[in-house]
């Protein structure tokens, strides 16, 4: 049983069953990371190209490690050292990469829809590693995987997402994944960071963090994207921290066994206090570990798509 898709572009396009298949496969593959020899031959002879148009050490490394653990050949490609600086388009670049027999292209791009555009133009499988403010499906998948691992289920849990919901691809993908799997989702942020009509996605909107945290099973803190926002949406960082920083006192409002998540990198003292980030309730490093397993699962499942000859054993 495969994913029966060529690409993974959005959580929106996945069914709950497909998400469950990715999670189950990732669960089985996690065992590989615990071995002395962290490598299996499943993607031997396949080529994975990491095409990153935005800086990202964490996600790119996670994809690279996932591909290498499955024995694929990996090429890391960054636009600053490529013909992109000479004016080549994304599709032309990707077609050249495809001509080098790339099986999977992992794309991070600042423009929403870039991954979908690319997927339509190439035969290789495309995995969206974040496209602008649109989606970051693998982050959402590793988040739900981590929640399921820690809580044993997703359905019926109360998940609170805190921060700039309007400009966060992580929030968008997480809302879609969590609601599809039956979680109750609350979002909380200053009004300038909540998109209009968000209620239609089946979430409850709060503007006060203390109120939103009451009874929470899972708290997902988003990084305040200072490099993108400037000061346009906030009077000051200090005020944001005062109202929306997850402190040990605020954490007490959530359930006693609540877990705290963060996609990283952390702005310590802005959205999360150092004492919470370093406490036992924070599962931030588990998210990083699980990211590799989830990306392995995706690469394995996508590699089973497309035209293949029938086995004649």
């Amino acid at each position: 049983m495969g994913l029966e898709r060529k690409d993974l572009l959005t959580i929106a396009a996945l069914t709950a069953e497909q998400i469950q298949l990715i999670l189950t496969t990732a669960e089985s593959l996690k065992e590989v990371g615990g071995r002395d020899i962290k490598k299996v031959p499943a993607l031997r002879g396949k080529t994975v190209v990491n095409l990153f148009f935005e800086p990202s050490t964490r996600t790119r490394t996670s994809f690279e490690l996932a591909a290498k653990r499955l024995s694929a050949d990996v090429i890391n490609f960054s636009p600053s050292t490529s013909s992109m600086v000479k004016g080549e388009t994304l599709v032309d670049t990707a077609r050249n990469i495809e001509a080098m027999q790339a099986d999977i292209i992992v794309l991070r791009h600042p423009s929403p829809g870039a991954a979908e555009n690319l997927a339509r133009s190439v035969k290789s499988s495309v995995i969206n590693a974040g496209d602008g403010w649109h989606e970051h499906p693998t982050q959402a998948l590793l988040d739900v995987f981590t929640i399921k691992e820690k809580k044993g289920r997703i359905s019926g849990l109360m998940v609170v997402i805190v921060g700039d919901i309007a400009h966060s691809r992580v929030a968008r993908s997480n809302i879609l994944a969590l609601t599809k799997l039956g979680a109750e989702v609350r979002v909380v942020a200053p009004p300038t960071m909540i998109p209009i009509g968000l209620e239609h996605f089946g979430v409850t909107v709060f503007y006060n963090l203390d109120e939103a945290l009451i009874g929470a099973d899972v708290i997902i803190m988003l990084r305040l994207q200072r490099e993108r926002l400037g000061q346009a949406l906030l009077p000051s960082l200090r005020e944001y921290a005062k109202l929306f920083c997850l402190t040990p006192e605020r954490l007490k409002l959530a359930k006693q066994d609540a877990i705290v998540m963060h996609p990283g990198p952390l702005n310590r003292g802005v959205e999360i206090s150092p004492s919470v980030a370093d406490s036992k309730v924070a599962v931030i490093l588990d998210q990083v570990t699980n990211g590799v397993s989830v990306r392995m699962a995706l690469m394995y499942l996508l590699s089973g798509s497309g035209e293949r000859s029938t086995l004649n054993e």
């Binding site: 496969t25 089985s28 031959p41 031997r44 089973g304 293949r308 054993e313």
Partner: protein
Amino acid sequence: MNTSPRPHERLLMDGQEMSRTLTRISHEILERNKGIEGLALVGIRTGGVFLAQRLAARIQQIEKRDVPLGELDITLYRDDLSIRKDQPEIRKTTIPFHISNLKIVLVDDVLFTGRTIRAALDGLMDLGRPAEIQLAVLVDRGHRQLPIRANYVGKSIPTAREENVQVFFEELGQDDRVSILTP
């Protein structure tokens, strides 16, 4: 439970014979290895795991000691992964002990082309360096494509290439038996 085989099913081994066969294999394993010192059983998912569990239970009855038991999924080591149209589901490998320096008895239900065992050997070698690997199978149906031979064989059954030998397990809600299924 219904014990009669289905119309297109030819019975090769019933539940009683399966049970007696497993008891014999348990004794053979103990005799060959002079007890269970340094011994561990690893079943290949899915049928091999049920058989390994039953062998472990019999060995426990005889020796009054538990033998370490693991479950191996060989999907990631298959040699046809890149050419298969239907992608196999990955299940868990659970081997809760270090296999290095142990004598591992690999257990599977049917020995056919030998490709599954080749994959299992690769999988085991990635987990450590066993002192020795032995192979126990319930049925050897021939048609080997690789030079692989079992140390313990429940029953050798001559079959046609296109026939399908299937082992049914109580653990899966079926009557224990081995049958040839013809299309």
